[in-house]
């Protein structure tokens, strides 16, 4: 299989603080990877450096002509602005010179109703809003989806619904997925690889091989006791 992303010796410093130190990993097309780690471990910074949005040293090498969709952890604007999901989708559609049918297709795949599209984003439920963000990321037909804690503000049932949607998309469209998450159940059940991050990369590989109690305690601290015994269900 062809490597779609190769990261070697990635270092990021912001205002003289080392945020990421000597991170290396690689992903093949169609694979999924979770990035886990405690708060402040550099997960979002890693995504931003993969998107070339912040200065870094080392190598981030994407396959040629790869298109990336990004689902942000939070939005910068006030959610209670008079903007509907349709306004946002159409803005991206016109920016990328797509046609209406592309937008309709993405909404159908995600399961966004006409009613949800016409609703101001501040009035959407957390799950619908998150679906809207995923639809925005999918416009333009990306081969890679980067998701920064897509279920951070959701209740458990919405969370499961969003994870199911993400992994259904991955299987149907052979998307490569990089997802930042705190949810270890999801990591064990759904992803091919995990990157444990605490400024430096503490582990990388199949979650069932690398995520043992010792590693989890090293990553999250001595009080951490979660350990998953189930076999991979994917």
């Amino acid at each position: 299989m062809q490597s779609i992303l190769s990261v070697k010796n990635l270092n990021v410093s912001l205002e003289d603080n080392k945020i990421l130190e000597d991170i290396s990993f690689s992903l093949e097309a169609g694979e999924s990877m979770a990035v886990i780690g405690p708060n402040g471990s550099g997960k979002t910074v890693l995504l931003k450096s993969l998107l070339d949005l912040i200065p870094y040293s080392g190598q981030v090498k994407w396959a040629k002509n790869v298109k990336i969709g990004y689902v942000p952890q939070k939005i910068d604007a006030d959610r209670h602005l008079p903007i509907t999901l349709l306004d946002l989708l159409e803005a991206k559609m016109r920016t990328l010179h797509l046609v209406q049918s592309d937008c309709r297709e993405v909404c159908r795949i995600i399961g966004l109703t006409a009613n949800a599209l016409k609703t101001p984003v501040g009035h959407l439920s957390g799950g619908q809003f998150q679906k809207g963000l995923i639809a925005l990321a999918l416009l333009g037909n990306p081969g890679v989806l980067l998701l920064d804690e897509p279920t951070a503000s959701l209740d458990q049932s919405s969370e499961e619904h969003i994870y199911e949607l993400i992994y259904r998309l991955q299987e149907q469209y052979r998307l490569t997925i990089i997802i930042v998450s705190h949810d270890l159940s999801m990591v064990y059940q759904h992803v091919d690889k995990v990157l444990c991050l605490n400024k430096e990369g503490l582990c990388f590989g199949d979650p069932h091989d690398v995520l043992d109690p010792k590693m989890l305690k090293k990553l999250f601290g001595t009080s951490f006791e979660y350990y998953h015994h189930a076999h991979k269900t994917k």
Binding site: Y70, P72, I75, A77, P82, D87, L88, E90, K92, L136
Partner: protein, 256 residues
């Protein structure tokens, strides 16, 4: 109908109001009301120097605005508390230095603007500025929306967010410059903020928001021109008072 310098001034004031309503809508969405107010106040030292040396005040104000815009753009790139502090300092320093520099007889005009007849050249320059502003907003509306919603999402859509921010700030400053003669350095920021606040209060979609903000701005300036003419009131404060009244009325409509 005979074209008079007074008519030029009325038409330009209404055209500038339209531009300010559109630009102000994005300023509100970008949460840059404070930065916008600072930019308008930065014009004051430039106006003061121009009055002192008997130059065209708009040239002095324009140079000061351009420098202020670059300064705010640099400060915006980092979003730390010290940035806000710096913006606060620039705000008060501009008003203080500008007030000291401006000759006393010109101070009220510099601070609160007024109604003055326009020659053809002044009218055409003003109209040119309005065309640039409105064209920019209509052409870059989609990029602006994506960038204010999530700069990262905008970047993955191929938008150069940093360059777009600078372009928007320059257009913002051009709007302030065009409206400066009518509202003055102290009140011009209100024409960018209050109509947009009305639009936000009354609408649910982006298109309706932009149209309502622009309409509220044109209505405020139109009623302001009429009221100040009929009752011999200062133009800038009359426009801002009417806009504020419309905002209070808009609060009566409860948002669903």
């Amino acid at each position: 109908m005979q074209i008079t310098p007074e008519l030029y001034s009325v038409v330009l004031a209404l055209a500038v109001a339209l531009a300010a309503g559109l630009v102000g809508s994005f300023a509100l969405m970008k949460r840059m009301s404070l930065a916008g107010d600072v930019i308008s106040h930065v014009a004051l030292p430039g106006l003061g120097i121009a009055f002192l040396i008997h130059a065209n005040p708009l040239i002095g104000g324009g140079i000061a605005l351009f420098l202020g815009t670059l300064l705010i753009w640099q400060l915006q790139k980092s979003s730390t508390l010290s940035t806000e502090t710096a913006i606060g300092v620039i705000f008060v320093a501009s008003v203080a230095i500008g007030t000291l520099l401006t000759p006393e007889e010109d101070l009220i005009e510099a601070l609160f603007g007024g109604f003055a007849p326009l020659d053809t050249m002044g009218f055409l320059l003003g109209l040119g500025a309005v065309i640039v502003i409105v064209s920019f907003i209509l052409s870059f509306r989609d990029e602006l929306i994506l960038a204010l919603f999530s700069p990262e999402l905008a970047a993955t859509s191929g938008i150069n967010v940093n360059r777009l921010n600078l372009q928007y700030l320059l257009v913002f400053s051009l709007t302030i410059l065009a409206a400066l003669q009518f509202l003055g350095a102290l009140l011009v920021g209100a024409l960018l903020i209050v109509p947009a606040a009305i639009g936000r209060q009354l609408t649910h979609t982006l298109g309706a928001f932009l149209i309502t903000s622009a309409a509220a701005s044109v209505l405020s300036v139109g009623l302001g021109l009429l009221t100040s003419h009929l009752h011999h009131l200062a133009l800038g404060p009359t426009i801002v008072s009417i806009a504020s009244l419309l905002f209070v009325l808009s609060l009566l409509k409860k948002k669903k």
